[in-house]
């Protein structure tokens, strides 16, 4: 099974921890994390970095896993009023247990509202009520266009992936989109997508369709953070994790990656962030393993 195929959906970040092989050791020895981060798992690192990007955001369309962890952490830190809207139609969930899927029964019991699919996709998402949508992908290109359909040719693919789910709609209708990619390598960060399932606004505009949002504005990876302002803009490296160089990121990227004039170093997760994440958000370490 290819790495790409491990995703559960376009809305769920592939979580290596859940299929084994990505514990603290992997993070510590992987991409050259600093000593300070050595006790931090890859899941924790990505969750913390993504949470910081949610400052000031209100409505987040997210799948289970890292996006939910990031949003829950953000609610405790930089975005106290952030609300997760789930693709299943749940708004204002107050789960008694950490949910295992976006449709987990514990998300429904005690929720503030459960919407039908037409209301969720039509009124909430297409209606423009989502500030940030989280997406994952098998492949991403320099403009943040995404492939979640196939590796290889669509008609006879090498790997058949799950497809769009609501990914096309999240991209077209959220004000901005965050992508979390655990693996940062040239197989995933590609010059040309095998298939564009989920187009960003540049591709839409080229076809004469006016999108609502900016498309992908943040890509958080094991190596750093790529950013993009909106229409016409390319992803560029704006931050690296401690110990990672810009050149390492460029080599791991399948196109000629632009690098910001000043590349920041991502501040390692603070003790406070880690404590909240570990003790409050996911005390059972369902996703933080």
């Amino acid at each position: 099974m290819s790495a790409a195929h491990e995703k559960e959906s376009a809305l769920t970040i592939p979580d290596g921890a859940r299929t084994g092989g990505d514990g603290p050791a992997a993070a510590a020895t992987g991409a050259g994390t600093s000593p300070a981060a050595a006790q931090v798992t890859s899941s924790e690192l990505l969750s913390v970095v993504a949470s910081r990007e949610l400052a000031g955001r209100r409505t987040v369309f997210a799948g289970i896993g890292l996006p939910t962890l990031a949003t829950e952490l953000a609610r405790l830190t930089v975005a106290p009023r952030a609300e997760v809207v789930y693709e299943s139609g749940v708004c204002g969930a107050h789960p008694s247990h950490l949910p295992e899927t976006i449709a987990d029964a514990v998300l429904i019991t005690g929720a503030e509202a459960v919407l039908s699919m037409p209301a969720l996709f039509g009124c909430v998402l297409q209606g423009g009520h989502i500030d940030v949508g989280f997406l994952g992908a098998a492949q991403i290109d320099r403009f943040g266009n995404l492939n979640t359909s196939v590796i290889g040719d669509w008609e006879r693919p090498e790997v058949r992936l799950p497809g769009s789910g609501g990914g096309v709609e999240v991209m077209a209708n959220s004000r901005e989109v965050f992508v979390v990619m655990r693996r940062h390598d040239p197989r995933s960060f590609v010059r040309t997508l095998d298939f564009c399932t989920t187009p960003g606004p540049d591709r839409a505009l080229a076809e004469g369709i006016r999108p609502l949002g900016a498309g992908v504005t943040r890509v958080v990876t094991e190596l750093g953070v790529l950013a993009r302002e909106g229409v016409g803009d390319e992803l560029r490296l704006v931050a690296v994790h401690p110990g990672v160089t810009a050149e390492q990121v460029r080599v791991a990227t399948g196109w000629d990656l632009k690098v910001a004039a000043t590349v920041a170093t991502v501040a390692p997760p603070t003790p406070a962030e880690l404590r909240l994440l570990r003790e409050d958000v996911d005390p059972g370490r369902v996703y933080l393993r």
Binding site: R75, R81, G92, H97, I108, E112, Q126, H129, P283
Partner: protein, 319 residues
Amino acid sequence: MERTTDRSDGPDKVMSMKAAVAAFVQDGATVCLEGFTHLVPTAAGHEIIRQGRRDLTVVRMTADIVVDQMIAAGCVAKLVSSFVGNSSAGSLGELRRRLERAVPEPLEFEEYSHYGMVCRYLAGSQRLPFYPLRSYGGSDLPSVNSALRKVTSPYPGADGEPEQIYVVPPVNPDVTIIHAQRADRRGNTQMWGLTGVQAEAVYAARKAVVVVEEIVADEVVRSDPNRTLVPAHAVDAVVVCPRGAHPSFAQGYYDRDNAFYRAWSHISKDPVRLRDWLAEWVYGTADHAGYVDKLGEAFWEGLAVGEALSEPVNYGRRL
């Protein structure tokens, strides 16, 4: 592992009717008031009259008593509607004078059918450029309403030939005001009985005000999330206003005042009587609580309803 913390935060949006109308209804605005016979936001209309708003475009499927009152009070420059009558009880006197004789002044009127209005809300709520519907073919309505247009389907019709269909444009009111049975303080709104097109009218609007019979504890709302037709993220203000739908009704709270519907045909027929009515019941009351008091408890007892409780359903709890 059971989680021990819960974060029921988010802003408290409760405000007075006076403050909500002052904040969200500006002169010249497009104001949608929805509620199909049931849960008509009458009290909000009265507060708009009290605050003397002008040049409003009022959007409402069934333009009925509250619309006639707002027109008579000089608030309304234009009406967008699919039924301009006093429900089953007769005429809207002020509206007829305006449309038939431009007395005391003209009223701009954009006429639809019910589903045309519903589709305008659907398009507005879904941010669509248009919404198709199988109405209006052969009607004279498109000749007096240029918003009714046609598109050709890119798929062949049942007979293999190209197919045309009418469409309506979205409506995106500056503010939608609805009345509901209950909400929590952050605006998660629950309604039952006839629910009409209120959810879509809220989602279509730039701002939304929900007027409720009562604010309930978060736990009440959250015991039945499928009953929440308007989630908090779509609501800007929650106004507590018991009996605010009178003379219409609130299922399970009070019945319809059919006598007043019948009376309105007579009151509104005479412009002087109509203005006297407004002076006494709207301008002459400080707010809806005053209107309710003035009607008196004996009156409200006449509209009281008994109990017919829904059977609870089990949402389940992880063991």
